[in-house]
């Protein structure tokens, strides 16, 4: 499903002394089936953008198009439930939203709220639980007896069980240990491919953006500062450093090496493996020449 923000501005607490302009003139096009990463430091407006993606916020000016629905400023937009079903948001620390007596009831809550039968919801709960890497035994447990990492997975299963077409992930791995982080990120990537989802990842991790996304949008001071493919975005690190962001470790390392070499390698490497291969090929050629 395509989503686009067209000249969107949003003011919090409009017409009060606390009025603040969170985003302005924001144009973002997200095409169906793409994986977009939104990066920016705290206060850059990325959370405000996120809340426009399923019409939790209505723009103060400009339009948001979600699939075939137009969300206009200054209008009461009714019947938003179908949008909320199609665009699933995994909020930061989603485990804090668990509330039911059992894992099964908690996962079923969302789909049943959207009119899915109990039988179908239970079927989806099983499937979703499997997808997040937990066995069926967990269905009857209380979510509050689980570890933090398991609770996070249950909360994610609750979003997956609504079978959304678009998955919006707000810092989904915050607070997890390295293995947990990788497992969750790989799982989202697998679902992205298998279910042909449109995925939007809000993150502080340059590494995750570089590895998983096919497009990166950088927010700064309520505006889109830059957008493009990861390779293009990270090939110009000065721009990022200027707004307090960084490039992935491997990109920074390559730049340091290039400074010493006095020339550039063939391309900007976003992962360690391809970088090592190029360095190794490079050295082999060098030996052959000598």
């Amino acid at each position: 499903m395509d989503i686009s923000l067209q000249k969107v501005a949003y003011r919090y607490q409009e017409n009060t002394p606390f009025e603040t302009l969170a985003i302005k003139d924001v144009d973002i096009n997200i095409t169906s089936g793409s994986y977009t990463a939104i990066i920016g430091h705290t206060g850059s407006g990325k959370s405000t953008v996120l809340q426009h993606l399923n019409a939790l916020l209505t723009p103060t000016s400009g339009n948001v198009v979600i699939g075939d629905r137009l969300i206009e400023s200054g209008r009461k937009n009714k019947n938003l439930a179908p949008i909320r079903q199609k665009v699933g948001i995994v909020f930061q620390f989603p485990e804090s939203q668990l509330f039911e007596e059992t894992v099964e009831k908690d996962i079923c809550f969302g789909p049943m709220n959207f009119g899915v039968s109990e039988e179908e919801a239970k079927h989806r709960a099983k499937k979703a639980l499997r997808e997040v890497g937990l066995s069926e035994e967990y269905l009857t447990k209380s979510p509050f007896d689980l570890s933090g990492g398991q609770m996070r997975r249950v909360a994610i299963a609750g979003v997956l069980a609504m079978e959304p077409e678009v998955l919006v992930l707000d810092e989904p791995t915050a607070g997890l240990d390295p293995r947990g982080r990788k497992e969750i990120m790989d799982m989202f990537y697998r679902l992205h491919k298998e279910r042909n989802l449109t995925t939007i990842l809000v993150t502080h991790s340059m590494e995750d953006a570089a590895i998983y996304a096919d497009k990166i949008v950088i927010m700064n001071k309520g505006n889109v500062y830059k957008e493009g493919e990861p390779e293009a975005i990270f090939s110009n690190s000065e721009d990022l450093i200027e707004i307090g962001l960084n490039v992935p470790d491997i990109v920074r390392f390559q730049q340091k090496l290039e400074t010493l070499l006095g020339y550039k390698l063939d391309r900007v490497h976003l992962n360690m493996e391809t970088f090592i291969m190029e360095v190794s090929d490079h050295l082999k050629k060098k030996e052959d020449n000598q």
Partner: protein, 279 residues
Amino acid sequence: MDHKVLVAVDSLTFMYEDQQKKALDNVSFQVMQGEWVAIVGHNGSGKSTLAKLLNGLYFSAEGSIRIGDIKISEETVWEARKKIGMVFQNPDNQFVGTTVKDDVAFGLENNAVPREEMHIRVETALAKVNMLPFLDQEPHHLSGGQKQRVAIAGVIALKPSIIVLDEATSMLDPQGRQEVLELMKELKQENMTVISITHDLDEAARADRIIIMNEGKIYKEGKPSEIFQLEKELIDIGLDIPFAIKLRSGLRKQGIQLDKITLTEEELVTELWTSHFKK
């Protein structure tokens, strides 16, 4: 660093009420005055339980914790908490004052510090964390990193001998994280004893010593340079290794000879260049 033991944990064992598995199982270690120790482990390894016991939020039935000459118990906990300051994960959950100044003063008021002295201590603490210009600001105007720095000021205003940071950087953006890490380094230089509980390996790499927890037990203990040689073992227990060490090992696997042991990016790039390109 002096060679005086400040924290002595001895055969500490702890089990949560409704669980069958020990969250901590016979844990013993010491922290010296002025030392920075990082306690590392995956989620559920027991490291946060340890933090809660260090601060007397829980008490164990077996084993003991001594802070200086105080053995932590229900009777001595208030005395012990004067010596050990805690900074937690979520910057929003530990801001109690309506302004930065009030927030830092909160702990001092609770300890009945005279008003005159309170003013001095608040300002000194805020100056130390570089937040003095924000004295009268309200918390919602601050970034996550700034809030954590204020939380740290609140702790150092109480002049503890040791500061425990329980995943204090894990909810911050990269800039905020950097700010707090810099501050930790400065505190350590001023001879503050620091225990940082974390699964950020770059944070742990800055410590004097790393203690790795796994399944409620101490799995390994040593200097960062020693610990990070364990590469595969660390990954097997759900941790990771710092970028520069991972890259070095990847390059070597590809047959690129790197003899010198390097721990940082700078060292590695120099080593790679001098031994292979600079000819």
